[in-house]
Structure formats: C-alpha cells, structure tokens
Symmetry: C2
Subunit: 131 residues, 2 copies
DNA sequence: TTGACACAACGAAAGCGTTCGTAGTAACGT
DNA sequence: ACGTTACTACGAACGCTTTCGTTGTGTCAA
C-alpha cells in the first residue's frame, strides 16, 4: 500500500539552505554541514546543530544516532520539496498561473539560449508524456 | 533618468495576501481590504490595519491620507514583485535552474492543455524578443 | 450638543526563526 | 587516570510576524 505523503511544514530560509546541502552531499554529520555552510558565511557550529535538531522534530530530516556523530539525512527528495515550494508560490503569488511564474523567473535574470532551448524541449516532452 | 529600484524586503505571507488584494482592487481603504479578506477567513479589522501600517513603513505600500479613510496602494506593480519572488525562489531552491522550477510548478498540479500551449507560445515569443 | 459610528494609532502578547553560550558526555591519546 | 577534543543537549535572547484590545478622534444625524 501507498505511504500517505507526510504533511511537512514549508522549510524556512535557513532550513532550506541546510536541506540543499544534505541533498548534494547525501547523509552528513553536523560537522560536515557546518563546514559547508561555513565556507560561505561564518556560522557557529551549535547554530547548525540546533537547526538540524529542530528540523528533525519537524520531520524535515531524519537522523541516525548509531554513531557518536549523528548522521542527518533529508526525509524528502529534493524534487518533492521543490514541487511543494513551486506549488506554494504558484498559489500565493501567481494565482496558479504557471505562465506568469515562468515569466517572472525568466525576467528575473539572464537566461542563456541553451537554457531556453532546454526549457522548450522539456515542455515538448512533458506535453507528450501528459498527452 | 532612471529611478533606482527600491530595495524592498520580501513580503511575508500575510503581506503578500494583502498585496494581492491591492493589485486586483487597486487603491483601497482598510475597510475594503478587510472585507475582501474577511470573505475568506475571519480577521479583525485592526489586524489588517496594523499590517498595512507596517507595510507602509517598509515601503511595500504607500498611503494617501487626504481622506479621513486613508487609501493604500501597492508601491510596486504585481509583475515586479512576482519577478522578485520567482528569482528569489529560483536561487534558494532551484540553484538557478529555470527548467527545474518549471518542472516543479507543472508537477505540483494539473495543468490544462491550453495552459501548456500558452506556455509554449510564450516561450517562443520570449525567445524571439530576447533574440 | 450629544450620542453613535467609523476610523487611525498604539501597545502588548504570543508564536516563530535564528543565533549563540554553556553545560554535559563519550572517546582518545598519553 | 587525566586532560583534551569532539560531540550532543539545552536554554535563553533577540528580532520579526501576526493578532487583537483599547484608546483617541473626527463625522454625522437627531
């Protein structure tokens, strides 16, 4: 039978930053996450630890305590969370219009010709798949 | 000469809800905004008032005090704010990949054939314009 | 003019997000 | 065994968001 998708809170800014690290690194210790974050901005070790503990309570991450240094892992795959976030913003700021969202995204930065082409290709395939 | 775009804070959830109302209604009194919100969820009049006052301090809205009932108006057009929000999410959750954002948005809900077609058309024109 | 009403202003509470300092504890080398 | 190091746990502070109650003040009708 199918797992009911857990009803997780939208991750906050700081939480999302950590999730991003976990997705790219895979299961990691606090130290590893801390070092990765520290490369971009000075942050206390315990700040990262606390964040991860809170995220574990919320169900955003799961932790393995078998080792002395606990190992944290995102409970949801990157794509799942991205879908939540995109859908949420779509509702709250774009009244559900995917086209407006796209316009907003494209006009917010320079987009390479390649990316445009990719996007188009993706749309074609998506269309085909959803037939 | 060109106005330097003001550096506004990202609107919070409640603020965005109010902005949406202001964009669709145009300049409005607190009462009008309150009634619109009240149709969806019970909210105190003063809550809306306070929110608008704070938003005015932040520069998200401007108010005209010439009338007894002040009139509030979004300082930035809808599209401008949408661009900020889309760009922000693009950076924070999609590592800048417009394609991933689109995938997230599309897979988060049912999208009609019409909307897909519209999206495609939009991409074509955007491409042409950006040449 | 007085009472009722519609409005703005203000203060404060409660909750959340973020940060950090301190304390406790297991592990490790000497 | 002892000190040092690498951790976790906890509490608390601070700021921001959201909500609401209270107060003050124009406005209008009787």
């Amino acid at each position: 039978m199918k797992q009911p998708t857990p009803d997780l809170p939208r991750p906050t800014d700081a939480e999302l930053e950590i999730l991003t690290i976990l997705w790219s690194r895979g299961p990691s210790t606090v130290r590893e996450v801390h070092e990765t974050i520290g490369a971009r901005k000075p942050t206390q070790y315990t700040t990262v630890l606390k964040l991860l503990q809170i995220m574990a309570e919320k169900g955003l991450v799961r932790r393995d305590e078998k080792q002395r240094a606990h190992i944290y892992e995102a409970t949801q795959p990157c794509e799942w969370t991205q879908r939540q976030l995109a859908g949420d913003l779509l509702d709250r700021a774009f009244s559900g219009s995917a086209k407006s969202l796209m316009l907003g995204a494209l006009s917010s930065r320079k987009v390479s010709r390649e990316e445009l082409a990719e996007l188009r290709k993706f749309l074609d395939e998506y269309d085909k798949g959803a037939r």
